[in-house]
Symmetry: C2
DNA sequence: TTAAACATGTAACATGTTACATGATTAG
DNA sequence: CTAATCATGTAACATGTTACATGTTTAA
């Protein structure tokens, strides 16, 4: 149920339409909580039903600007301070690692290198976002930078871990023969 | 569509029933790919329809032992070597970080400390699993250990990052006044 | 004899993805 | 005038969770 909290959080910086929200999810939240257009419109309707948001204004092309209500603020507050985040329960990358014994060691090594490469690319992308934030000063982006730092460290971790794993596989292979 | 690949991977070490598979998912795969009983029975039925697995034997209490077929092995091989794993698209923990500006700095710090604590607990649990694997020798557990090492490093990362973030928040707060 | 473990299956519901359908407004 | 952007909505389908329903076998 975190999509709604993402929406509520976005609405704290001002009213927005479903369309606006989609852009914001794609831009700033893409790496943290993805959402599709379809999901957003559906969730906004449900949240309006439950009075967590309300239609504050209408615009051209049937545009509906939603604003967060007090109930919405309360719900967001509660979620922020009293609900522990669920840890991620699934990693497609690690699931494959579990079954790497099913392919020859050289292919396992290729898999690990590929993961390191993907992580390097991700690191570069995140670093670019960091660069683009260079001018923008604090307040608005402060915690965005904190989250960004997590991403930077996580992608470095994958690269280091994959390199370590590669040496493990090679040692084991040599010891085998 | 990775549940089915998890099942296929499990079945490479021999035939198993839905019940067996559930235990194995709970024990060894819990941190990597979770699955419920309901999901497993449903997926096994679908996979049998598609000839990726077959009922190899029946046992007491209506027990059905499924075995992987050649088609299943081919599918698994393809997934392992030719399909890039999807990166995780959602982190409830980081989503909250994005909105930490909505709560007072001392509460934001409390949030970060809580995440560090949770990560420390997770690290301890994983270390215990590592200990329990101490006796068990290679082959079977080799790549499990590699995956475990990822978990250990990831939980350390969260602790270090949270500590760093805490200093950032404190510096910013002091500079503010 | 009775509790725990074994064993399967399904219904209801929540969440998430892709594709389709429709139309208004703006900028070049 | 016409392409891009703005804007909403829904249908179909896939995936995932919780709860219910049912019955057998084994071990204490």
């Amino acid at each position: 149920m975190s999509l709604r909290h993402g929406v509520l959080g976005m609405l704290t910086s001002g009213p927005a339409s479903g369309y606006d929200l989609l852009k914001r999810f794609e831009q700033s939240l893409a790496n943290v909580w993805s959402a599709t257009q379809s999901q957003l419109y559906g969730e906004l309707a449900k949240m309006a039903d439950e009075s967590l948001v309300e239609v504050a204004a209408q615009g051209p092309r049937g545009r509906k600007e939603y604003a967060i209500t007090q109930r919405g603020r309360d719900e967001l507050q509660h979620w922020m301070t009293e609900v522990d985040p669920d840890p991620p329960r699934r990693s497609a990358m690690l699931l494959r690692v579990f079954f790497l014994n099913l392919i020859p060691p050289d292919q396992a090594v290729a898999y690990l290198r590929r993961q390191a490469d993907l992580a390097a690319h991700q690191h570069a992308e995140l670093a670019a976002i960091g660069e683009s934030l260079r001018d923008e000063s604090d307040e608005e982006t402060f915690y965005g930078r904190i989250a960004l730092e997590w991403g930077l460290r996580a992608s470095t971790l994958v690269q280091e871990w994959a390199a370590w794993a590669e040496t493990q596989v090679k040692n084991a292979t040599r010891a085998d023969t």
